[in-house]
Symmetry: D2
């Protein structure tokens, strides 16, 4: 056992939090300024501008001072009124979990659910909306990390917009790693965060809120105000010297600032290509081992996380432990429907590198063969290499 469990892994390939980019780590060690002194006001205002650019928004973004679970809960309570009917789209545990907040607003909830290895069909959404013209809000999780599946939010968004409803999107683990932006899917509220594909630490939420979204929240008498769950309180915060509703998470703001710089400097298209290539290479290796990803098809497989079904006779814990202890490669287990049945390998931010896919495949195959499952590392690596080498 080369790598005891008390030692840090060599490669951390989980669906997040991810090890941050070196420049982000470096930014974390900036001294903590007083939040109302000019230097920090300047940092914050500039960061808002850079986040707007990264999210390709035509209006101003909001940063909330808590990780995206805060943003999702805040979105539910801010946008959904008690008199609304909500259509919650469910293709995995995160979509399923959103229902708890939607219900608590007092709204009526309708759910459209598909099996956990599939994606929502936009036509089914259209049909449901046609059947329920009263639906005012639709909610969807873009990337179900427990399943490694991607929902077609742009198509869904077009249908929801045509219907005149509002869309809430959970893009926590997809934004920054693929071509997705709030206005592409016409979201009223689009929620993401820094600790996945942006390669920063967790503790903040990035929100894109459309003008329609703002209007609906402002009209919602029960939208949180004077609360950490309030989005409205933060509408103007940090702009033009406006006060923050409460103290910002300064160290995390510094880190996000560096992460957004990196994202814009590398070029979003280049970053997405790096994620996509890594995931495709990894999936090719999995297939070469005779194994299957969780997602029903490659077409809906995520470019930021691969969920791989365990072969017969291999336990999740044993495989994770073997990869961790023998090779220093840290992956995650399944969650919800995939718990005990799969491992999850993140391709996010600094971990989204084809060479890490090659290394992870080798470690995976090497570990499987130690556990008694016949897996030839070379097959996996050759298949992945074909993907990588055909890319340029």
């Amino acid at each position: 056992m080369l790598y005891g469990k008390d030692r840090p892994p060599v490669l951390s390939l989980t669906p997040g939090p991810v090890p941050v980019y070196p420049q982000v780590l470096h930014a974390l060690s900036r001294q903590i300024p007083y939040d109302y002194d000019q230097p920090f006001q300047t940092v914050y205002a500039r960061l808002l501008g850079k986040v707007q650019q990264a999210m390709r928004l035509s209006n101003r973004p909001v940063i909330l001072q808590g990780e995206p679970v805060l943003g999702l809960e805040a979105a539910a309570f801010s946008l959904i009124a008690a008199e609304d009917t909500v259509l919650n789209l469910v293709s995995g545990p995160y979509g399923r979990g959103f229902a708890q907040w939607a219900r608590r607003t007092g709204a009526r909830l309708i759910e459209l659910e598909v099996p956990d290895d599939q994606a929502i069909d936009p036509q089914a959404v259209a049909a449901c909306l046609a059947q329920h013209p009263e639906i005012a809000v639709v909610s969807v999780c873009h990337h179900e990390t427990p399943c490694g599946t991607i929902n077609p939010i742009n198509a869904i968004g077009a249908i929801v917009a045509a219907h005149g409803a509002h869309l809430i999107v959970d893009a926590v683990s997809s934004f920054g790693g693929m071509n997705t932006h709030p206005e592409d899917c016409q979201a009223s509220i689009y929620v993401t965060g820094p600790a996945k594909c942006l390669g920063a630490p967790p503790a903040l939420t990035l929100l894109g809120v459309s003008e329609r979204g703002w209007a609906k929240m402002k009209a919602n008498a029960s939208a949180p105000r004077g609360s950490v769950l309030s989005i409205l309180d933060w509408e103007d915060a940090g702009y033009a010297g406006n006060r923050f509703p409460f103290t910002t998470s300064i160290a995390d703001i510094h880190a996000l600032d560096a992460a957004v710089d990196l994202y814009l400097d590398e070029g979003p298209e280049a970053v997405w290509a790096r994620h996509d290539l890594t995931a495709r290479a990894f999936r090719a290796g999995v297939a070469a081992l005779g194994l299957r990803i969780w997602a029903a098809s490659d077409a809906i497989a995520s470019p930021t996380t691969t969920v791989m079904r365990l072969p017969e006779g291999i336990s999740e814990d044993a495989l994770i432990a073997a990869m961790r202890e023998r090779f220093g490669v840290l992956v995650s287990g399944g969650r919800g429907p995939t718990a005990g049945k799969a491992i999850r390998v993140g391709h996010m931010g600094p971990a989204a590198q084809p060479v890490h896919a090659l290394a992870a495949l080798a470690a995976l195959a090497g570990s499987l063969s130690c556990l008694g499952f016949p897996a030839q590392a070379g097959h996996a690596v050759d298949a992945a290499m074909e993907v990588v080498n055909s890319s340029t």
Copy 2:
């Protein structure tokens, strides 16, 4: 103008967030681990133990993943049931502000208010409780930083306990800088945070919850669950490998870990003495300049922040700017009742050093005299020195 507003100050003496201790800054730059991998689990579990020791708790503390305004809101909603009668003690803006949350629970609210330069009289609390035997929860802010005043929470706590009610304490800006602990004041929930006297960045809440507090929360059907506002969700989080309800603020946890180590290593009594001496020296200097603190008496003046009334004809903005630009000393303006009428000088964590009080007094007097108010720096410094030199 030596120090332009875009340059960082030389000495930041605000009521927080404070510049962090060097070792805390250093801890911020630890690589971000996966929160479910063993090394971080170990860090978190050990941190909980150290926080328990620092808070001198006989049971386990809770860390919430947001700055203390989250903790206070969570405490209100978790502890107060709609059928409760709440006595809110008000001696300044933070006490006053707590009412908004208490009211939103649906509870009946009674307020006992004193002028903003005074402290709550425990006997008045006793009288009020006698008059309203139905009071189930009492809330109090220990240190009103806008006013620099300290409420006698231990005495209040004894009265509340005798009455059989629950006490919620906001000790955000006092804990770590003076002798105060949850069990000293018999609090059911005691809320504090890292960015004041502990000298860490903002973004977390430390909670002491008594066994009675847990029992009341659990009995409260409307206490938040499945929410960022839930305290109940975090009861066992991080202990014995229990899952976190959602991703922790890892960088801030690293920083808090270093800050608590420093606090325990220096010795709490030594830390408090350092805060107290700094504040006493500063107040002596203020008096020597013929100026007055906001607090009606020294007996209720805070050891962690001094609020000084502005002399006639000196504007808050002008004085803050002069200290900042000529001397690089950053202080805060008033807030709420003291806005425009006072400056606030923090003596917190790494800033709680007698030599900083001497420097700040010199900068204060030097700035006042530039603005036309006759202030002799030497008088202020001599008065402060007498305090410092008689201390050892």
Copy 3:
């Protein structure tokens, strides 16, 4: 081209300076103390103790404030007197280069040279000493990084000691990565540094000096004194509060301190095993590709750097560029005799991980095949995996 030359590589696998361990990076950001204040004196004195433990010395080590080229030059001038006869053992460029300093002392120089892909034969040393009884000093480079070859310094040391001569050892790129210590080879002066297998930044030299070594230096009237080249000046520096001859490289001392802690905490034997396994796996992969290492045999191949001969028709620059640009894997070119004919892959400190060998082999094969050389990544990885998986 995924990785432009202005972007940092994903994996830096060079023969040093290596990317430092995270904890070392972290230590670099400690505030710079005044070197004569007690806290730094304590750090330095404790570090000397830990270095003594790591080098397994029975007497006290010396830290010089410059990278090991300073230490080697200082060793030559300090130990060698003008009247000495020196036997310089040459199996590569570093051994060859040492002659320049030895000659400049005025000493008579004899050289025993083997081809650059071979190691010194201890019996040849014995024969040479027998032939030249006047030889007073023998110098040898333990690990020729340009060639990836290891000289048998313990056997040589025994012969030199039996002869009564002094041995100078350059163990810059071997110490910390394999089982080698000053007293194992009976060196009078043993020179190493932090930027190779210890995983710290360059800028310091670690010296083991035997009692005989000290005696000879002290007897040498021309040994540098009052010079940055002086070893004698530093004999007692930092012990028991003794003054430093000049200002120490404080940031680098902090980093070394963390690196030595890591080395001792992981356990030297475990660290060596990790280096050895990584190198053996890498070499197995190279062989599986039908390629050859530079070293004439595996028996003399270094566990800390593999030098691989380029196949016909593949240029060094093109291969390095392909690995860097397509896979983000940085390796070095040849140097001296191997320049233009080989690539060098470091297995040092944080880079000495079997999973990095697997990744590097994949990147190597993938790059070779892009350049037209038939290389199957899977073969290389399978061969390496067999080594890794048979190790535990």
Copy 4:
């Protein structure tokens, strides 16, 4: 005793190494790159350009990989030939110490010495040169930190240039804190470093070498080559991808890079003014206490270090300990002629702030009075304030 000797001081006001600027500390934690990979080559080449700008050189500077004692020794051996006659100007220990290196070159040495509280008179230099037309090299220390005195190097340089001799200047503790540059004093070699007024860690030397200086070194057959003492080896290093003679001190290079940015961003004139104002304020306070600086007159007192004579009956150790332990203010003792007779207070880099002078004066007076010497802190502070407040 508030500040035990194992705890770091609050304010470190020594003549260096100084606590570094926060941005420099931050730069230290950049990951260590391979020195021959493009990103570091770019950093190094740009840094050379910025150093050239900071030193206001018309040709390219040199960075040596060791603290300035290396640079001074290298300058002596590189520039001085055995056949030269050298005039060494001595006004303190550093000037006196330079003789050891000058003598070792084999050159003939003439010394012009003044008492340790005085500065060299340019007319005496002129007279000496007239008397010894054979003098080929003149050496001078600009700022004797042990004495706090400044020599008039620009005037001396003009005289030396008129004579046709070469000037070696030790400007280690003045450059960056006052208006001094290599070409202002027509130095052939001008030596400075980062750990004083630039506010970076020690471990590097910055050299300005004039074209005449290069020519003389190249003509000097005994100038070091193939040695850490060689300046010639580094002439082109790092320019246009040229190889480094040996591994650079990468972490220290990162730090210097940040420090030079800060110097240029704040503006050299503003930085000098800040040093000057701090020193003048401090000296005014010393005078107000009835005490004297070491320098015979204010005209030759350094703006970067004040050396204060101890009053009768006060021991150096006791005063340093009192300031350190009671106030957390760290100052240095005397050195050489001032050892045991003075304390030295640095005004360098981040410590060169008028508010630190005020704090240090208060701590000084407070400590003196504890030790039985009648010192009124207020007098000192008022005198210093008058200087500060009349400055803007």
